[in-house]
């Protein structure tokens, strides 16, 4: 139980970020549903956000003065906003695709195949 008496560090946050990132990458790779791919992208961005926030936090490392400071939080804010924009466009494309092809299977989007 000595783990629970230790303070968490950046490393622990990085592991969470890594798990989210890898889940997202795999999700993007294996899902055939276009919206599933979109969810994978959200997971990847979120994993990156966890890392940014962890590095910016002033009390997660033993040399606190060298923390990233507000930059990390500002960049994670930008990531959140960009993710919203990206989701809106991706959703519009998906719905357009669905309207034209009556499917959301990304493997069926192969009309330009030579």
């Amino acid at each position: 139980m000595s783990f629970f008496s230790q303070p968490v560090g950046v490393s622990h946050f990085l592991v969470v970020g890594a798990v989210l990132f890898v889940s997202g990458v795999v999700c993007m790779a294996v899902k055939r549903n276009a919206l599933g791919v979109l969810m994978g992208i959200e997971l990847v961005l979120n994993g990156a956000n966890v890392n940014f926030v962890a590095f910016s936090s002033p009390f997660l490392r033993s040399d606190n003065a060298y923390a990233l400071g507000l930059d990390g939080q500002l960049i994670s804010l930008f990531v959140i906003v960009l993710a919203a924009a990206e989701a809106a466009v991706a959703l519009a494309i998906t719905l357009n695709f669905y309207n034209n092809h009556s499917t959301v299977d990304v493997d069926r989007a192969d009309e330009l195949k030579g």
């Binding site: 139980m1 000595s2 629970f4 008496s5 230790q6 303070p7 968490v8 560090g9 950046v10 490393s11 990085l14 592991v15 969470v16 890594a18 798990v19 989210l20 990132f21 890898v22 889940s23 990458v25 795999v26 999700c27 294996v30 899902k31 055939r32 549903n33 919206l35 599933g36 969810m39 959200e42 997971l43 979120n46 956000n49 926030v53 910016s56 936090s57 002033p58 009390f59 490392r61 033993s62 040399d63 606190n64 003065a65 060298y66 400071g69 500002l74 994670s76 804010l77 930008f78 959140i80 906003v81 919203a84 989701a87 809106a88 959703l91 519009a92 494309i93 357009n96 309207n99 299977d105």
Partner: protein, 236 residues
């Protein structure tokens, strides 16, 4: 054997981290698109909890407000518009899964050791013994303090934390307040530069230009999405 007092910060971190990771993996494993969306909500909500724990209260609230409350509602909207019979559960072939497991194993094997590779990231406050002074990463990224702590008793070398911390558990006793500083940062003024070490100051720039760029970007996206998604039927 001494009984260690539980560090509640760590305990809550574990709770949120386990929830975030479990449901993040569940998004991948599940094949029902609506369940996936639900798992994603839980995962991102737990991540917001992690942000609060890391002292980023404004980012955590924004995560809940924009990401979970806005983006994911939009996503679920899309899911429900397209959730018809065969699209609800589209299965992935076995070969894809094998490749995916290989890929994720490789990535995790790369990322997890990297996360623990720097001593100061591990945040071991009272036992800096295993910090290796001649580790190249440590020497570059962190600090004379870690090196010094390895040679001398830790108690005398404990640096003053940049926050009020009376019980010495590495957690601030008062709530973090970041919203105003973040807002001023977006306007181009970095109030945290006042506290920062002189050698850290040159890197602290304002974010007015990115802020304006992102505003224009959002406007373009708004128009573009409305244009793409407008009701039209292809006439065959």
């Amino acid at each position: 054997m001494t009984v260690h007092p539980i560090n509640w910060h760590t305990a809550f971190f574990m709770l949120y981290a386990v929830v975030a990771c479990t449901f993040g993996v569940a998004v991948v494993v599940s094949s029902n698109i609506v369940r996936m969306a639900l798992y994603l909500i839980v995962s991102l909500g737990a991540t917001a909890g992690l942000f609060f724990l890391a002292g980023a209260d404004f980012v955590g609230a924004m995560q809940l407000f924009i990401y979970v409350g806005g983006t994911l509602v939009l996503l679920i909207f899309g899911v429900m518009l397209t959730a018809k019979g065969p699209f609800i559960s589209m299965r992935t072939s076995g070969g894809d899964w094998i490749v995916a497991v290989l890929l994720s194993g490789c990535l995790m094997a790369l990322l997890v050791p990297a996360a623990f590779s720097v001593a100061s990231w591990r945040n071991e406050r009272h036992a800096a013994v295993d910090a290796e002074p001649d580790d190249s990463d440590t020497a570059v990224l962190a600090a004379p303090r870690t090196v010094a702590a390895a040679h001398q008793p830790a108690a005398t070398e404990e640096p003053p934390a940049p926050f009020i911390d009376d019980n010495g558990d590495g957690i601030p006793d008062v709530q973090p307040k970041t919203a105003t500083a973040l807002g001023l940062g977006l306007l181009g003024a970095r109030v945290d530069a006042i506290d920062a070490k002189p050698e850290m100051r040159p890197g602290m720039s304002g974010y007015l230009l990115p802020f304006e760029l992102i505003s224009v970007h959002l406007l373009v996206v708004l128009i573009g999405a409305a244009y793409l998604a407008r009701a039209k039927r292809r006439v065959r």
